[in-house]
Each structure stands twice: as C-alpha cells, then as structure tokens.
Amino acid sequence: MGERTGLEVSLAISEAVKFARADAIAAYPITPQTHIVEELAQMVADGDLDAEFIMVESEHSAMSACCGTSAVGARTFTATASQGLALMHEMLFIASGLRLPIVMAIANRALSAPLSIWGDQSDVMAERDCGWIQVFAETGQDAFDLTVQMFKVAEDKRVLLPAIVNIDGFTLSHVIEPLFMESQDDIDAFLPPYEPQVILDPKEPVTIGPVGFPEIYTEIKMQQNEALLGSYDVVLEVWEEWEKKFGRAYHPVESYRADDAEILINLAGAISGTARVAIDQMREEGKSVGMVRTRLWRPYPFEDMRAAVKNAKAVAVVDRALSFGGPGGPIASELRGCLYPLAEKPVVACFIAGLGGRDVTIEDFYTIVEETEKILESGYSGEYKMIGVRE
C-alpha cells in the first residue's frame, strides 16, 4: 500500500524517479531545479537508489551523457530549467532524433536577460518543437504521477521518444503539498524494467547517429513525427491504466466547470489553481466562466481541444511566455492554429501574464475575463494583451 504524505514537490519528483528505479541520472544544478537533483544524489549516496549519478560540468553535457546512458539501455533521468534547458537546446533535438527515451523534469523558469530565477514558461516554450513528449503538472501529485507515467510512455516500443514533465519553478517546485505516494510494489507492477530495442552492444554492433543525406532525411523526420503523433494513443493507454490502478484520472485537456461556460480560460501549469478559485468566485457572481487546462502539450491534442472549447463563445488564453514580435503567446498560437480549420469557432483572446515570477492573481483573472467580454462585444480579439504591467 502507498501512503499519504506531505512533501516538497521537487522531492516528490525525486521519489518518483526512485520508485521508477532509474539506472542513470546526469544533471547540472540550476535554480529552481536543484532540490530534485540534490535529493537524487542523496538517495544514491545513501544506497536508496541503485543508479549512476553523473554530476556533469554543464547541461549540454548532462543531455549528452543521458544520450550515452540511454543508448546502452539504462533508464535515464535528468532535470533542468531556464538557461540550462537553453544550453541543452542542441541536444534535445538529437535525443529525440536518436529515439532515446530519456525523462526530464523542468522546473519552468524565465530566460535571461535580465537574469531572473523566477518562474514562467519561456524556457520550455522555446523548446516546443524539439520532438519530445511534453506534459504539464498542476499539483505535486501530478508531478509524482506524471514522472512515473512518462517513463512508461517514453520507453514503449511504439514510441521510443524522450519526455518532459513541466512543473512551475518555485510556485510548484518549492511548495510542500499533500500527496499520495504509491508503494514500490505497485509502481513495479505498473512500470516493468526498461526493455530497449536497440543498444550499443559489441556482440550486435549498430551505428547510431549517422549522416542523413537529402535522399533520406525527410523520411527519417517523418518517421520521427509519426512516432510522436502515435505516442498520443500510448499516453492515453498509460493514463487509463494509471486511473484503473490508482484512481487518479489524467486527460490531454482537463476541464473545470467548462460544460456550459461562455468564456473558457486555457492555460498550462500550476496557475490553474488560482484560476479555479477565480472561476468559483465568478460563477457565484453569475459569470459563465470555466477552464480548459492543457495537460498534454506535445503531441498537441487537437481533437480533445476542439471538443473541449466548441461550445464556448471565447477562449481566454493565459500564456506565461511571449513570442517577441510575433502573435503573442505560444499556447494561444497553437489554439488558434488548432481551431482555424473549423467553420464555427470561439474567439481566441491571448493574455500574457506571470512573466519572471510575477504572480497571476485572482484579480488578474477577473481582468482577463472582463477584457474577453469586451472582445466578444467588439468582435475583434487583436493579437494579445499583457496583463498586470505596472504603468
């Protein structure tokens, strides 16, 4: 039997990695990810986790070493944030291109300059197209569950792709939350040891990471994309199994008081907690508001999203990242792209908020909904608005 406990969310991820019996971890310290790797290092030092911990000299080498450990068949984990993720950029595309099922936690944090150690989602949004499966956690429980689940998804032989678990820096990574930790036996039954398909083995030599000439590159990239698109079914399978086993349900798009809502708020990550409170208040005041939270970010759940928002008049997207000189926030851009082929669709309004650790408050959600109402009246959404900017 598992146990109910109170735990810092970073440590819940470390626990999940331990329960997943990871073989290898290569990581470099960066705020606000440090507690995850510190705890893992301690687990290895205490003999509680039988793994190789490679304390590398940079995030670039962290992901490089992860490619090495994964290529010999080791269940591999790493964690990073912000500048560290940016330094890994090159390696992220290679890890997915080589089809190495590495699992990585990101404690989402703003990007320099100016230097900011505080949370937003600029870091992972810059890596949107790196070919990894990407999910967002709302709570500590999510963080624990998703970390275990993603090993199973990534390593599935129909998938063989790396996966990212996003947790908001500080507002999630550093808070202590009540959560239910499943027992080692139950996790073992859910997640069997990794059975790699192809590894570096002197008895069966393979060449991994060759040159792809123009005659073959497109085909390889198409295969890779098909694998990522196909991972959707596996994600759903794994979530169904998890729900059956442990009673906690996960969906690509998660709705809250959304069924009859005229205005839906779409966002990803832990600010949905605040959004729930704001929605409850607004509902009491008679406003028809709900939420659709993006859980699965890659592969993007087009059909789920279309179904989730089809009855709304407007979707107000809260993006914690800004596409400079572009159409606004990445979540809104994806949603607009997702809805564009439909003849009838809700208006999509984009709000940039919560950059570099700025709180997104209940009042901000009021503002967002009021602005969206104005947009509905005028019928023109524009590109985006930045919320909470001090004049």
Binding site: A26, S58, H60, S61, G68, A74, P202, G209, P210
Partner: protein, 314 residues
C-alpha cells in the same frame, strides 16, 4: 620504442587482418586520420564502443544507410564526444552491476578531431577526465577544421595558412602557436597519456593497448597528416608524420602516472624546413619565419628532454 620494434614484416602476422573500421569509407585519398583509426581498432578489438564527435571521421564513415563501423558506434554532436562516452561508460557500469548488460570489459573510446577536442569539446573533455570515467579519449589532430573546408582551430600551428587564417599582405597565416592539448590533459593527472602518429603504427598500437589496459581516463593525441588540408601529396601522409617526428615538430612521448618519457629521442633532429617544405599551407613562409618555428620547436623539445630526465630520476 617504435624504431627498436621489429621490422615491418612482422605486422601482418601479429595483427588481426580483419578490419573493424572497414574499407570503403569515404575518406579522402591518403588520409592519415583514417589510417590512425584503423590501427586503433585493430588493437581495441571487437569489444569496443566508439563515441564519435562530428567531424571528418564521422561523415566519411556513416552515410546512412552505409556504415564503416563493425563495432557499435554512436555519434551525437560535435562538442560532446567525451560526455557521451562518459554516459556510455557509466551506463554499462550500472547495468552490468544489475545484470542487465553482458559481462566483460568493454572498451569505451571517444574520438574527436582537434576542433572537437581543443576548441568546442574542451569543456566536456575536461569534465569527463575530472570525473575519472574509465575511457580512452583519442584526439585525431589534423590541425584545422578540415571537414568544413580547412578553417583554423586552436591546434593549427604558427604560420600555417588556412581559409580563416589565410596568408596575405598583413598576415603570416595562423599567428599564434598551436595549443598544447596534451599538456592540458596532463594537468588533469590522468593515469596515462600519449602522443602518437599513424606513421609509427607499432608505437601507436602499443600505446592504444596500454591506454585501454589502464583503468581510468586515458588520452592519446594522434597527429593525423591531412593531404587535403596540409596540401601535400596524397602519397605523403605517412612521410609527413615521420618528418613531424624526426624534426621534433611532433615529439612522441608518454606520461604514465605523471612521469614523462620520450619514445623516440633523437640526438640530431632534422631541420623543420624538411617538414614544412612539402606542405602547401607553409609554402609562403620566409626563411626568417622558418627560423622562428625552428626556435619554437627547439625550445619545446629541450623542455621535454629536461622533463623526461627529471622524471626518470624521480
């Protein structure tokens, strides 16, 4: 060591004829680097995993769906051969402990060129050496970015003309001396380090054996003559390597547990002009430039002799 080792006739009998770095790769004619790999693989044998940096040897050997590698081989990126090798080594270690990887020693060899080692890969190499991974790092040094079209690296020697350190009215070519990569590695106190050259195959292969037999991080710096980039005859790579050693431009030495010994100690060295002259990249040098290079070579060689004598008397 090498010049005392038996004559060339012995090699075919002593070495496995099977090529683990297979013929038919796309290397330039007369490539000294490919020759070095072939020699290294003959000694390393089939229980070997190669972690390759991006570069000449990577592109010529792995045009998908072909491969020249009969041992497991992985290429990830340019600057991280050492970090990938670190992961491979650590991964095998933990999986063997858990009985999930076949038993027995596996040689993990990282291979990178001079750019992938002395420039962009220096940090990853330093990290992997410091963490004491059990692997061999081979730098096949052809003294510039040959793969991308002969651009200078920090391992390009003084006076060499490359496409980004061209000779001209205002320039002699490369204006700084070659970065001393083995010296940087030696500062990590690795248990075994050697310089080698495929022109001295037995020396190179003996060093490979010794490096692989040594536990912990080991390093070989292999001068790899490049007809394309050095602009000498395609039948001259072996001779250029010999001249590099015989002139003292590239001394062959080992550092074992901190003690340096010269493998071929010459009382009389050939003048450097004999090494420089056949190479197009040095063709523009004036006698006074050659003199500067001769002085640099003399100074460094004297330092090495002194160090070797001191270490011998330790």
């Amino acid at each position: 060591m090498a010049e005392k080792t038996k004559s060339v006739e012995f090699i075919p009998r002593l070495l496995p004829p099977f090529e683990l770095f297979a013929e038919g790769h796309r290397g330039c004619q007369g490539c000294g680097e490919a020759l070095a790999l072939r020699q290294i693989l003959k000694v390393a044998g089939p229980n070997t995993i190669i972690c390759s940096a991006t570069g000449c040897m990577e592109i010529i050997s792995s045009p998908y769906p072909e491969t020249a590698w009969r041992v497991p081989w992985i290429h990830v990126a340019f600057e991280n051969a050492a970090a990938v090798a670190a992961g491979v080594e650590a991964g095998i270690k933990i999986l063997q402990k858990k009985n999930r990887y076949r038993e027995g020693k596996v040689n993990v060899i990282a291979i990178a060129g001079d750019g992938g080692t002395a420039d962009i890969g220096l940090q990853a190499l330093s990290g992997a050496l410091e963490r004491r991974h059990d692997f061999l790092y081979v730098c096949t040094d052809n003294e510039a970015y040959m793969n991308t079209g002969i651009q200078r690296s920090s391992a390009t020697p003084y006076g060499a003309s490359t496409t980004t350190s061209p000779t001209g009215k205002e320039s002699i070519g490369q204006q700084t001396p070659k970065k001393n990569m083995p010296k940087i590695v030696a500062a990590h106190d690795v248990p075994y380090l050697a310089t080698a050259c495929p022109s001295y195959p037995l020396d190179l292969m003996n060093k490979t054996r010794r490096a692989l037999d040594t536990e912990g991080p080991t390093y070989m710096h292999v001068l790899s003559p490049c007809p394309t980039g050095w602009r000498h005859g395609i039948d001259m790579a072996v001779e250029m390597g010999r001249l590099a050693v015989e002139t003292g431009v590239f001394p062959l030495y080992e550092i074992v547990d901190g003690r340096l010994s010269l493998n071929i100690k010459m009382d009389e060295r050939k003048p450097v002009i004999e090494y420089l002259k056949p190479q197009g990249r040095f063709r523009h040098l004036k006698p006074e430039d050659v003199e500067i290079i001769q002085r640099q070579v003399n100074e460094y060689y004297e330092q090495l002799i002194y160090r070797a004598e001191c270490d011998a008397n330790k």
